[in-house]
Amino acid sequence: MDTHSLVAIDDLNRHEILDLLDRASYFEKNPNSHLLDGKVVATLFFEPSTRTRLSFETAVNRLGGRVIGFSDASTSSTSKGETLKDTIKMVSNYADLIVMRHFLEGAARYATEVTQVPIVNAGDGANQHPSQTLLDLYSIRKTQGRLEGLTITMVGDLKYGRTVHSLVMAMRHFKPVFNFVSSRELAMPQEYLDLCDELGIEYHVYTDFSPEVINSSDILYMTRVQRERFSDIMEYERVKDLYTLRNDMLADSKPTLRILHPLPRVNEINIDVDDNPKAYYFEQAHNGLFARQAIITACLGINPEK
């Protein structure tokens, strides 16, 4: 059985991404199984994240596996000063797979170097969160029927938002057109624009969240603009409401447009959008379960259709 870790979405090629999405489709139709009979999965949450942990643990339970772990570093020996290496080595004695979330960037990559047990990165600081990206891709494919040739508009914090960076990296395999909408302070980093240039991916940079941009989009990917990202509070006050989506802005959008958001949201999507059939952010979170079932079985080298 071929097992492997999943640390970053950038590590996956187009074929591997599509394989995971096909697995996720399978689990949407067949959520409960005994594929993980006799397997133990550790969920090590050095940083609390209830949403992500419950999603992973539900995925394991619905696959018939068992879960060990902790939900907060203060209840583990990390609080006694144990190194990450020692914690991972200890847990490796018990588990067939380790799902870990850590506040330090690069923690999951390092963990793969100290154990033979496959590691699934459930978020390492501001760095990587591949299961989020996979559920984003799954949501895009499910709502649009394809990944190729879509116009994807990303709005809000494009500078620090790891979800939008990962989405750019993952979508680069599928000939997208990107619209990057943000204030200048929170613009998409140059390295991602350079990457698009290099790969011949069409993109447009806007500071205006205009009807033209919305109406050309297949996917609106909204993100939260966080106050603490701004060095200048006046600037925050000026831009905080410029990138809020309201229902009336969707009047002339494509019928197939869907609105995504990694959640939690604050005020960047007005609640009057929630009842619009184009709002997809709650279902999007639900898709996380299938995406995580896909990741867990793939990392354990289990083929669900056999």
Binding site: K85, H102, L104, E105, G106, R109, Y110, D124, G125, A126
Partner: protein, 154 residues
């Protein structure tokens, strides 16, 4: 030409040892640190802000009776990609090479990201070279990029 001559006159010839030339002036003391010259008892001559046609101003280091291994010399390439290494034996230049940046640097550069695992766990750093010209390095763990001239050498 006059100024070049003065440079040569200012520094004594070596019987045996290593001469590292064409170091950008700003990087001179970083190179001193990489080579561990602070802790040496050998004769050392350091010149800086010397005129150079290629670099405008350059630094030069001569160390008596020492030859460094390639791995040490290649670490110099992070901060001083233009540096040349002359090995002197019996007053003659036995070899003259440019420093060469390896593809991967293990425990050479500290990650500038305080939230990087390498700054919080007893472990070696690892940087991959993504642009040899700059040079630009990327942390294998947290993905932070660093320009060679800004890199903090361990």
């Amino acid at each position: 030409m006059m100024s070049d001559k003065k440079t040569e006159l200012a520094v004594a010839a070596l019987a045996a040892g290593t001469v590292i030339d064409h170091i950008p002036s700003a990087a001179l003391f970083k190179v001193v640190h990489i080579l561990g010259i602070e802790h040496m008892s050998n004769g050392v001559t350091i010149g800086n802000n010397l005129p150079s046609r290629r670099l405008n101003r350059k630094g030069i280091i001569k160390i008596e009776s020492v030859e460094f291994d390639r791995a040490t010399l290649d670490r110099i390439a992070v901060v001083a990609p233009t540096a040349t290494v002359n090995i002197i034996r019996n007053y003659q230049v036995a070899s003259k090479t440019k420093v060469e940046l390896p593809e991967t640097l293990i425990n050479t550069v500290a990650c500038p990201n305080p939230k990087c695992i390498t700054n919080n766990e007893p472990m070696k750093t690892r940087f991959d070279v993504i642009d040899a010209e700059g040079p630009v390095l990327i942390c294998h763990y947290c993905g932070r990029t660093v320009c060679g001239d800004k890199a903090r050498i361990i």
